[in-house]
């Protein structure tokens, strides 16, 4: 029996704004009158480490998504998408920002950063759909590269059982007023990117 309406795993690197994305989803879900659960990474792992966040819409149970259970894997960084690929359900969708943040193991020459295709092709084998997008370029077009996470949220919105107006209202709550317009624009650009790909 299904125990959650939509399970999302959001991954990235400390400082990319993973928590903001889940906060917006959670607030929108509460506005929609749905039960919602989330689990966050705090503390030591935040210092430049991998960050993983679980968000479960329409769920009253565990705050964590089970291995193989994610309907959507939202990756703000490409290598992190592959690191947490085991969360993806075979029917799931992976939305991947294609711009890397190199870990220190790579910048100091102790490890190799895989090419984008090396990351995307195994992802394609294990889930229903992989959607790569250059969210930083889109965020810059929207007015600020900082809104990369909101571009990704916009892309994610196409796969969530939440009304867009609720998401935008929640977004307005969490971003400073002077960045509201840029963030709303970033959201729309991410959403449009998904629509253009899924239509072709």
């Amino acid at each position: 029996m299904k125990t959650s309406e939509c399970d999302i795993v959001i991954v990235g690197v400390g400082g990319q704004g993973v928590i903001l994305v889940s906060d917006v989803i959670g607030r929108a879900a509460v506005r929609a009158g749905k039960p919602v659960r989330g689990a966050e990474t705090h503390g030591m792992a935040q210092r430049g480490g991998s960050v993983v966040n679980h968000t479960r819409i329409g769920c009253r149970y565990s705050p964590m998504v089970a291995s193989g259970g994610a309907d959507v894997l939202l990756a703000l960084e490409p290598a992190e998408a592959l690191r947490f690929a085991h969360f993806l359900s075979p029917d799931g969708v992976a939305l991947v920002n294609t711009i890397p943040v190199l870990p220190i193991t790579v910048t100091t020459g102790r490890a190799r950063y895989p090419g984008l295709e090396e990351i995307l092709s195994p992802l394609r084998e294990i889930c229903r759909q992989v959607l790569p997008l250059d969210a930083i370029a889109l965020a810059k077009k929207a007015g600020t590269a900082q809104a990369m996470n909101v571009v990704m949220l916009g892309a994610l919105s196409a796969y969530m059982p939440l009304q867009q107006d609720l998401l935008l209202a929640a977004l307005d709550e969490v971003v400073p007023p002077k960045y509201r317009e840029a963030n709303r624009k970033a959201f729309q650009m991410g959403k449009a990117e998904v629509e253009s790909v899924t239509q072709t």
Binding site: E40, Y61, R83, E118
Partner: protein, 594 residues
């Protein structure tokens, strides 16, 4: 109207709904946001909120407030309770004035901790009740209830969230914050407030005697839920109860379920469950606290019942999750287990360990320390961001808050003849290092103590401490001088150096190394994250064409320094500390004017 709130914020709301008059804590993941949320949410309420110097002090401050008639809370992480153990154990005898709640946030899986001890054992040890929430809403409700229980039975109460509750988010209902009620006056009552042996003996008897009444009271608490169905059952505690409910629903089984949220456990419900089922799976994280009780009760009511739990079904170490509980249930029922998904290609992903920030002063300090003391010296270290410098060869031990200095002394007195240079942060020094320094001075340990003073408690989220001159509320206060403190505690030589100045740091460490006694080096530079947030901006650095490709700067380990095409390169993460330019033997790294 409910809100999507972090578990720790939900707890803070509960505390405000209970009308607390005082909250004291020491930062520690996963507990830190409770005090921070209280500061954010308290508004005009007459509520004293403080970051205390350590957990023992926090609990003692809370005890004083409780004895003066104010509902009080002390917050800490599980290992902080070890520090507070002394007042904690005896407080159970003496009892409270207004309600007193100890929040000890556990960290199964050691997400951000040096161990994963189970605070439920500590509550049992002290004979005090413990509330074990499964989600943020329960944590909020329990925070309110804990004070009622505390006052009804004249006993401190523990609230024990885990990381997956404190750092979970969920729908949390809105309650109303209350202004602290009651008269504030310390009432003298030596028989209950002075733990002389003559008082302690009857108070211990009283503590033992009230246990049954507390259990009776908790039996009816809404967080103990019994649902009798089939002849197989699950007894699950805290968040494991949530996983068990999900597992039963996922497998669509007609299984009996007892969810437990309080300690002492509801023996009556356990008896009912054991009389009803032939097999029972006990699901709890870490210690078999519930399981031991279930075994004891089974001997009385149904010796034939099969009890499954720790070992073959449920691990004793690490955190549980839905899949682990689902599979334990499936195994009990003879059903197919689900294996966790494996993706072979994950193997090509480069590791991304947490690391010291670009421009972090700890890196520069450790670099200078290592240059002066060399590879044969012994480097006891401590709890804080700087433990992440383990790769620099200057972190040989990490035990508990402040232990670096006393462990260093013991290594010296144990017979080590090499140089010993220990290190700890400013907040850690003030928390638990001062007594170690005093002891080292008193017993004449020839060691060097390095205080990595970044003027904040960085790892847990940049809380202020007595060295910063700022209180939990953001208000200014007296700023303690670490150098004056070190001298007063008996250090023979105290050096203060700027980690951004490599030559000065090398010289300070050289003098400390040569000093025939107890030396202290205070390496002082504001945490780079704190500096950035306060708007400070420095020029960046760049590598010139004259780079020889020697990799010395790369091995320094700053995330802002990369290596490609046989040359170093400085990326956009550079914060402008300039230490790499001082290290470069070819003088190829230069400041870039803004």
């Amino acid at each position: 109207m409910s809100k999507y709130l972090l578990g720790n914020v939900a707890i803070a709301k509960g505390l405000l709904e209970a009308g607390i008059g005082l909250a004291a804590g020491y930062p520690g993941t996963p507990s830190s946001e409770i005090i921070e949320a209280l500061v954010d949410l308290k508004g005009d309420l007459p509520l004293h909120v403080e970051w205390s110097v350590n957990e023992k002090v926090a609990l003692e401050v809370a005890i004083g407030a409780s004895w003066t008639g104010a509902r009080a809370v002390a917050t800490m992480k599980h290992v902080g309770l070890n520090v507070a153990a002394d007042p904690f154990m005896t407080l159970a005898y003496l009892g409270v004035g207004a309600g007193l709640v100890v929040i000890s946030a556990d960290d199964p899986q050691c997400h951000s901790s040096q161990n994963e001890q189970d605070s439920r054992r500590f509550a049992e040890f002290a004979s005090i009740p413990c509330l074990d929430p499964s989600d943020p809403e329960e944590a909020r409700e329990m925070a309110v209830f804990a004070f009622e229980l505390s006052e009804k039975f004249n006993i401190p109460v523990m609230l024990r969230p885990t990381t997956r509750v404190s750092h979970a988010r969920a729908n949390v209902s809105a309650g109303v914050a209350l202004e602290a009620a009651g008269q504030r006056k310390f009432v003298k009552n030596p028989a209950r407030r002075v733990a002389l042996p003559v008082h302690a003996r009857p108070l211990h008897n009283e503590l033992v005697a009230k246990q049954a009444a507390i259990e009776d009271e908790l039996q009816n608490a809404p967080w103990n839920r019994l649902d009798l169905r089939g002849s197989a059952g699950i007894i699950a505690s805290g968040i494991a109860g949530l996983y068990a409910e999900e597992a039963i629903r996922d497998l669509d089984l007609d299984v009996s379920l007892l969810r437990i949220g309080t300690y002492p456990v509801p023996s009556g419900m356990i008896e009912e469950m054991l009389s009803h089922v032939s097999r029972v799976l006990v699901v709890e994280e870490l210690e078999p606290v519930v399981e031991e009780k279930v075994e004891r009760i089974a001997r009385k009511v149904n010796p034939g019942v099969e009890i499954l739990g720790k070992g073959e079904y449920i691990p004793r170490a690490g955190e549980l999750d839905f899949l682990a509980v689902r599979n334990a249930l499936a195994r009990m029922m003879g059903l197919h287990e689900k294996t966790a998904r494996r993706v072979a290609a994950e193997g090509i992903v480069p590791p991304r360990p947490p690391a010291l920030c670009p421009g972090c002063s700890h890196r520069s300090t450790y670099y200078a320390m290592r240059r002066v003391f060399g590879k044969n010296a012994v480097y006891p270290s401590d709890i804080g961001c700087y433990t992440m410098a383990i790769g620099m060869g200057t972190v040989d031990t990490c035990l508990c808050m402040g232990a670096s200095i006393s462990v260093a002394s013991g290594i010296r007195f144990g017979g080590e003849s090499e140089d010993i240079c220990c290190s700890l942060g400013d907040s850690t020094f003030l928390h638990g290092g001062m007594t170690g320094l005093l002891n080292a001075a008193y017993n004449q340990a020839r060691i060097t103590v390095t205080i990595l003073d970044n003027s904040t408690t960085a790892m847990t989220g940049h809380q202020p401490n007595p060295g910063t001159g700022v209180k939990a509320t953001g208000e200014q206060t007296a700023q303690v001088s670490l150098e004056a403190l070190a001298k007063a505690l008996g250090a023979g030589l105290v050096e203060v150096t700027d980690p951004g100045n490599l030559e000065a740091s090398l010289q300070a460490f050289r003098r400390a190394k040569e000093f025939a006694g107890l030396s202290v080096v205070i390496a002082r530079a504001t945490c780079v994250i704190k500096a950035r947030r306060s708007g400070s901006q420095r020029s960046r650095y760049a590598v010139g064409e004259d780079c020889q490709g020697c990799r010395i700067c790369v091995d320094f380990g700053c995330p802002a320094i990369e290596f490609e095409n046989e040359s170093a390169r400085i990326n956009q993460l550079c914060t402008g500390c300039g230490v790499c330019a001082q290290i470069c033997p070819a003088a190829a790294i230069r400041e870039v004017k803004r």
